[in-house]
Each structure stands twice: as structure tokens, then as C-alpha cells.
């Protein structure tokens, strides 16, 4: 009797096995069909339809990783973040090291502006496992994270990520150019300039890199270097108005700067007198536009006092050969330019050049030392 039961059990087992296999194949085919239908819906801009199809596909292939991920992404993209998160968390619990899942979770956290979670999931994605094209996916995730940090004005974190990223970038000009742009957006102009220079080592005629390097150098107050980069950029891209404007300002600064190296004393004195005269005019015009009486000492502004100091200094300008007088005169010029910019707004032309010199006198000092780098 037991033998009969065993034989019957074996036969039934084989029959059911065949049945299950056949049904399993049908279910897989059905799931694939529904999934592809969902992808088509998604590509056609009908995410709701895609969600329905992905869900239906999952009914027949419940544990399919790709289907679940697609559903979660579709849910996220339609703003159903809670639903997406639960799916993604479930996937994450199953494969915490998976790059795609972590990236999706990172994007979700970024959408919710959760800085810590975003950093956590993006880092998991960057250092996680990718089924294919791992290097590209990792770099893209990294760039995406930095973009997010910049949007959140989290500059220190963005700079930290960029420094690490730049060190690991393969020698490809596009990637270094992207990193350099991001450095510039993160206001880390030193690293930005280094990255632009790296790009230029790969491709000397890269207009974007030249313009970027010019902007970075300009921001660092290295106007001589900026001038040279921007001149090259303007030659390669004459339509680049921003580079042209910066080039003009650089030219003005370099022409007006009395502290440039290798200037004759005559030229230096001429520049100081020109700057001093310009500052006086700026002071008068600013006071006039704001209806400030420069002769009244009790006026609620520093301009009258500055005017008085300007007048006193004017008499000393005859003794410009004395270093102290030159420095004192330029200090007063810088003070006037800064104060008038506060009172009357940003200046233009020579006043703008003087203001920039005032803001970054040290940068001007270094300009000469950068010349060789720029020429290289």
C-alpha cells in the first residue's frame, strides 16, 4: 500500500511539476509583456498608465527587481514619494549594496530635501554595486549629488565631494571640465582653476576651459592670468559676451593698477593720480545723486569726511615719490570706491576696476607671478 502511494505521489509530483513550469513560463511572458507595455507608457509620457502596467507585471513576477525598481521610479516621478519610498526601502533591504536602488533612494531623499539621507544613499550608490557600466554610473551619481548640494547651497559639502571626485576622475577633458565648472559654482576658484588648467593640458584650444579659467583667475584676483585666458577664449569664441566683458574689466584693472610689478615710478605716479582723480569724481557724483552736501560735516554719511580727507590728500600728491604718500593716497581711493559703492550701488568702468582692486589688492600683487603659468 505504501509502495502504491509512493508511486502515485511520484506521478502526481511529475504532473504538477510540468503544470507549474508551464504556468510559470506563461506568467513570466505575461509579466514581461506588461513591463514592456509600462515602459512604452512611460516613454510616451503617461506615467500613471506605466504604474498600472508595472504593478500588473509585478503581480506575475512579484520579486522581479527590475520591475520593482521601475515601479518605484515611476511612483517617485509622479510625486508619490511615500509609495516609492516603501518600494525602494523594501528593495534596499533586499540589496542594500545595489547602486541603482541607492541612487533611486538618493534622488527621492533629494526631492524631499533631506540632506543627510541624500548624502547617505548617494554615497551608497557611488560605492555600491552596479550591474553594468559601473564607472559611468558611479561618476554620474557623484556629479548628481554635487549638483544637489550646490542647489541646496551646501558649498562646504559640495567642495569636499568635488575634491574627492576630481582626484578619482579618469583623464578625460569633458569630465574635468564638468568638475571645474562645479568647483566654480561651489566658489572654490583655486580648484576650479587647477581643473581648467588640467583640461587645457588635454586640449589647449578648449574655449570653455579657457573662459572658465579666465573667470576663475578673475575671481581669484589674478587679473593678468585672467586677461590671458580670456583673450584666448575671446579669440576662439568671439560671441562669448561674458568672457568679453570680463576681459574688458581685466584690461581696465591691469591698466589702472599702480601696484603692478615692473612699473616705472612715473607710470605708477600717473596711475595713482588718475585713480585719485577718478575717486574724487566718483565721490562728487555719488553725493550729488544722493543729494548729500559734502560741506556739511554732520551729514548722516561718511562721504563728507571722505571728501575732506580727499582734499587734504590732494595737496600731498606732489610728494608722490615718498612711498607712504602713494600708499595713503591709494588707500583713500579704495575707501572712497567702497563707500560710494555702498551708498550709490555698483560702479562701472574705471571705478569698477578700482573697486575690484580695493577688494582684492593681494590678487593684483600675485598677478605677476601667475603670468608665467598663463603663458604656459
Amino acid at each position: 500500500m505504501i509502495a502504491s502511494l509512493a508511486i502515485l505521489a511520484v506521478l502526481a509530483f511529475l504532473f504538477v511539476n510540468r503544470l507549474v513550469n508551464r504556468f510559470g513560463e506563461q506568467e513570466k511572458a505575461l509579466a514581461r509583456h506588461l513591463y514592456e507595455q509600462g515602459l512604452a507608457e512611460q516613454n510616451a509620457g503617461r506615467p500613471e498608465g506605466a504604474i498600472e502596467d508595472f504593478r500588473a507585471a509585478l503581480t506575475y513576477s512579484r520579486d522581479n527587481f527590475q520591475y520593482q525598481l521601475s515601479l518605484a521610479r515611476a511612483l517617485r516621478d509622479t510625486g508619490r514619494t511615500d509609495e516609492a519610498e516603501t518600494y525602494l526601502i523594501s528593495l534596499w533591504e533586499h540589496s542594500p549594496q545595489d547602486g541603482a536602488v541607492n541612487l533611486a533612494l538618493g534622488r527621492l531623499a533629494a526631492r524631499q530635501r533631506l540632506l543627510d539621507k541624500t548624502l547617505q544613499y548617494y554615497h551608497n550608490a557611488i560605492y555600491g554595486v552596479w550591474a553594468s557600466d559601473a564607472d559611468t554610473n558611479r561618476l554620474n551619481a557623484w556629479f548628481e549629488l554635487i549638483e544637489f548640494l550646490l542647489r541646496q547651497h551646501a558649498y562646504p559639502q559640495a567642495q569636499a565631494e568635488l575634491i574627492t571626485l576630481a582626484a578619482e576622475l579618469p583623464p578625460h577633458p569633458d569630465l574635468h571640465l564638468r568638475a571645474a565648472d562645479l568647483f566654480a559654482r561651489a566658489q572654490d576658484y583655486d580648484h576650479a582653476l587647477v581643473e581648467y588648467q588640467r583640461v587645457l593640458r588635454f586640449d589647449r584650444g578648449n574655449a570653455a576651459a579657457l573662459a572658465g579659467a579666465g573667470e576663475a583667475a578673475f575671481s581669484l584676483g589674478r587679473y593678468r592670468a585672467a586677461q590671458r585666458y580670456l583673450q584666448s577664449a575671446a579669440r576662439l569664441s568671439p560671441g562669448d559676451t561674458q568672457a568679453s566683458q570680463l576681459l574688458q574689466t581685466s584690461n581696465l584693472i591691469l591698466d589702472a593698477d599702480p601696484f603692478s610689478h615692473r612699473l616705472s615710478s612715473t607710470e605708477r605716479n600717473r596711475r595713482i593720480r588718475a585713480a585719485f582723480s577718478q575717486a574724487g569724481e566718483r565721490l562728487d557724483s555719488c553725493a550729488q545723486s544722493k543729494a548729500i552736501d559734502l560741506k556739511t560735516e554732520s551729514a548722516p554719511s561718511d562721504l563728507p569726511a571722505l571728501r575732506e580727507r580727499w582734499g587734504e590728500m590732494k595737496t600731498k600728491l606732489k610728494r608722490l615719490s615718498e612711498d607712504d604718500t602713494a600708499d595713503a593716497a591709494m588707500d583713500l581711493v579704495f575707501e572712497i570706491e567702497q563707500e560710494t559703492s555702498k551708498e550709490c550701488g555698483a560702479p562701472s568702468g574705471l571705478d569698477q576696476a578700482l573697486l575690484l582692486l580695493a577688494q582684492n589688492r593681494a590678487g593684483t600683487d600675485r598677478a605677476g607671478t601667475d603670468r608665467s603659468g598663463a603663458e604656459r
Binding site: F13, V16, L19, F23, L34, R55, R62, E83, T86, I89
Partner: protein, 593 residues
Amino acid sequence: MNHTSPLSPESSSVAPPHVSAATPRRVRRFSMTATSREEQFFLLLAMFIGLFSGLAVVCFRLAIDWTRIGLLGPAPQAHNLRVLFVPALVGLLVAVLVVHVFPQVRGSGVNQTKAALYIFNGYIPFRTAIGKFITAALAIGSGYSLGPEDPSLQIGASLASALGRRMEFSREKLRLLAPVGAAAGLAAAFNAPISAVLFVIEEVIGRWSAGILGSVVLSAISSVVVVRWFLGAQPLFRIPSLTVARPTELIAYAVLGLIGGIAAVIFAKSIAYFRSRLRSWPKWTQYLQPSLAGLAIGLIGYLGAPQVLGAGYQYMDQAMHDQFTWKMLAILAGLKIVATTLSFVTGTPGGMFAPTLFIGAMLGGAVGGVERLFYPHLTGSTGTYALVGMGVLFAGFLRAPMTSVFMVLEVSGNYSIIVPVIVANAVAYVISRSLQPTPIFDLLTRQDGLDLPSLEQQREENILRVEDAMQPPTGPVLNADETVREANESVQQSAADVFLVRLSPTGWSSVTRDLLKRLVSEGKGEMTLGSALPTERLPYLHPDYPLEMALRYVYQTPLVPVVSRADFRKLEGVISSEAVLNKYRVVSREDES
């Protein structure tokens, strides 16, 4: 020590009542060997029952899925005419099959299996298994709001019964086979062996019985192994991460238990009311009732809630993953109650397990959603509440509290959720019991004109114990080291005729006044009682033994000693046949009054 307590280990070696003391040892050994072989064969058969039940349930699930895909399409959606009309049309076919071909397959199958066990000596026609398979697959596959678990239970029981009959088992064994098959079928359907075993004990057998527990467990495990072999080991639901951070959050789960308990009562009362009303309608309406219910269910699906069609496991899964808003969850819970009531009361074959879980999951999710709306600091996710909600409805509606707890644990595989589950289930159970004293399965059997035992009633019964009927000894307690003469003198002051003798080092015997006198007259007055009395010892009882156990002994000996569990020589009292009968009379009078 020579104990002869009926439950003491030694008692198991005492010859069974039907084997006399004079039976030769080799005959006794043969008898025991034969019993042991029969037990082993029964266990082996339980494994085969599990295997066949598992295979049947796999086919049943495939049949349901095939039917659903074929009739409703791969992804049933609202505003699809198929969804509107298919349930009604299939309802007509099912009604014809139920009325003319398989009249035994109406309803869920749990009560039918229970009736087979208690009324029909374990007999369930094999035709019932076939009928249940076909009609339930059609009904569930076409969208009736019913589940595959209870039919699987009946299919398993029917297979077991057929196998037992084929083996020409005795009536007693045949009766035991039905729950073995039922557990196998349910375990396979739910992929949860512990819950299946507990449910069969709580609802089918109706009492804890060690006799078949091994077979039930073995068959359940075998069937689950088979199902996992074919359909994978993954649980019914993908359980999200579950946490309960603060004990104060248990209040939130208690509220869920309260609401779930009320919902369970509404569900149970609706089924009981409408089922009895529909059964009173003319017989010809039985052809139309399932169809009309199907039309109503189809309309619900067509108008925007296709989730209520069928068992709905994928939607429970989605509810656990925050896929619905709390409003949608609440609507689905309400609509599922309506759809399941309509499906069930019209006699459409199918189970209530899955719908109960569905309603619980939706209700749990909805309650969790609302609670989190007002108390955002609650850490439990919607999935946690949905999972606990399943257990809540199970405890409140099916009134199987232990199964409900283990079911959630088994489904989730997460023991950190046990406290919320117990709290919520207990509240739901208490609410349900107070508002609906008769459990749903008992209600249904009574509507069918049957009276089957239920574990819930047994739990409530006041068990009489030996201590309730025992009395202090009327005469002196003699010691075995006393002389016969001393003993005879000490009993002179007593009016009793029988006296207990405390043996040394342990054990009890008794002696009559007449025997003492006779021994003295025979010149044995200086002998100790221990050496003068026959060696036969009295059985003894402990105060906490059930009173019915005393009945086994009080007719063999006029006085049975009741001794302390800590010291067998310490007499707590004595019990006699008269005392036992008096106690039963008193209790009977109290019950009548």
C-alpha cells in the same frame, strides 16, 4: 517511590484496561508493538496526506490564477466590461453546479469538515474535493470576494478521508484523518504551517488533543514543503520593515483593535443576517443568488474598486507598502465587507480567510494613516498597521485568537511585532465577544441545524476539579508502622467503616473496621499494619485534577486519598463516589437555575 497516580509517569506502564493482569507478557508486548506500528503507519500516512494535499493546493492555486487571467484579463481594471459581467455569468454556472452536481460544496468548507469529523465519522466524499476545486476556482477566479484557504482545507480533508477509506481504516482513525488533511490543505494554501495547525485545533477539532497533534503537524509541514517546492518559499506578502519604537504607541494599536473588533462584529452580523434571510427564499432563487451577487461585485469593480475582486493578496501587499491613501484603504475595507457578504451569503463556494485578512489589512492601514495624521510622531508605518490589522480581524471575526497571533508572526517573520499584535488582537477579541457572543462558525452551523463543539465554549466552561468535591477524612488516618491492635483501638471512636493507611516510605492503602477486628482475632494484633495488610496500593489524586478523573477510581475503592503534590504523604482530603455525584448534582441544579 511507587506512585500510582493516573498521570504519573509510572502509570503509563500500567497495562491498559482491556488487557487483564493475567495476560502473558509476550501477548502484551505483541499488542504494544502492533499499536506502535499502527501509530508509525498513521504518521507515514499523514506525510502522504500532506504531500497530496500540497499538490492539490498547488493545482488549485494555478486553476484560480488561470481562471482569473482567462476571464478577467491579466490586469483587471475599472471601467472594463469584463469586470462588470464576468462574475455574474460565472455565478450562473457555479449555481447550476452547486445545486445539481456538487451540493456539498456550498460555503467555506470549515464547518463541513467539522461536521464530517463530529457527525459523519470523518466521511467526506471525494466528489466534494473535486466539486470544491472546480466551483471555488471558478468563483474566486471570476472575481467573487472569497479566498482559497477554506476550500483548500476542505479539499485536504476530503483527500485524507478518501485515502483513509481506501486503507479501510477504523471509524476512529477515519475520524482523525479529516483534521490531518484539513491542516495540510490550509497550511499549503496559506504557506503557514503553525497557523494552520492552530486553526485546525481551534476551529475544526475544537479541543487540544495530543493524540493527533503529531500527525496534524507532520501533514501540515509536508504540504508546506510541497507548496514551497513548486511555488517558492516566499511568504504571501512582502513585509516592510517593522518597528515599534515606544511602548506608548501600543495605545494606537489598541485603538486599531477596538475599531477592528467593531468591524468584525458588523461583518459577522451582516453574514449571519443575510445568510439566514436568503436561505428562507424559494429554492429556485438559488440559481440566481450567486449571479446577482456577482453582478453587484462586478459593479463595484467596474465603478472603480477592482481591488475587491477575488482574494486580493496583491492589494494587501500594496497596502503594506503605503500604496493607498488612508481614505482609499477605508473605502476598500468597507467595500470588501459588502462584496464578501454578498459572495458568501449566496452560497458561492469560497473561503473567508483571505477576505478577512484583506479587510483587516485595509482597515489597519486606514486606522494607522488617520492616527499618523493626528500624531505624526508615531513610528509605525502603514504596513505595520496593515499587518496588525490582519490579525485583528482574524481574532475578531473568525474568533481564533491564538491562530491570529501566530498567523501574523508567521506571515511577517518578525517577532518584534508580537506585542502590538497581542494587544490589538486581544482588544478586538474582547469587543467581538461582548457584542457577538456566538462565533461566526458556530452561528453558521446553527443556521444549518447542526450543533458542533467549539473551543471557545469549552474555554468558558467551568471545569470541576477534585478539590471541589473532596472532603476531610471522617476517621483517623492510620500509619503502616502502627500495630494492628493499636490501629483497632484508635478506630473505635470513629463511626467510619473504612480507614486510610499511610504506607512507608510512601503510598496509601486502606483497611476496614472488620478486617482489623479479624486480624486481631487471628492473633496478628502485634504485627504492623504494613506487614499485615495486602500489598495492593490505592491510587491517589491531587486536588487540581479534573473531577471526571476521580470517576475512574471512586468505583474501585470506597475512598480515594487526595494528596499534596509537594508531599505525597500529606493528605489533603478524601473523595468518594457519593461526593463526586453530589457535586455534579449541585452544579447541574445551579446551571438549571
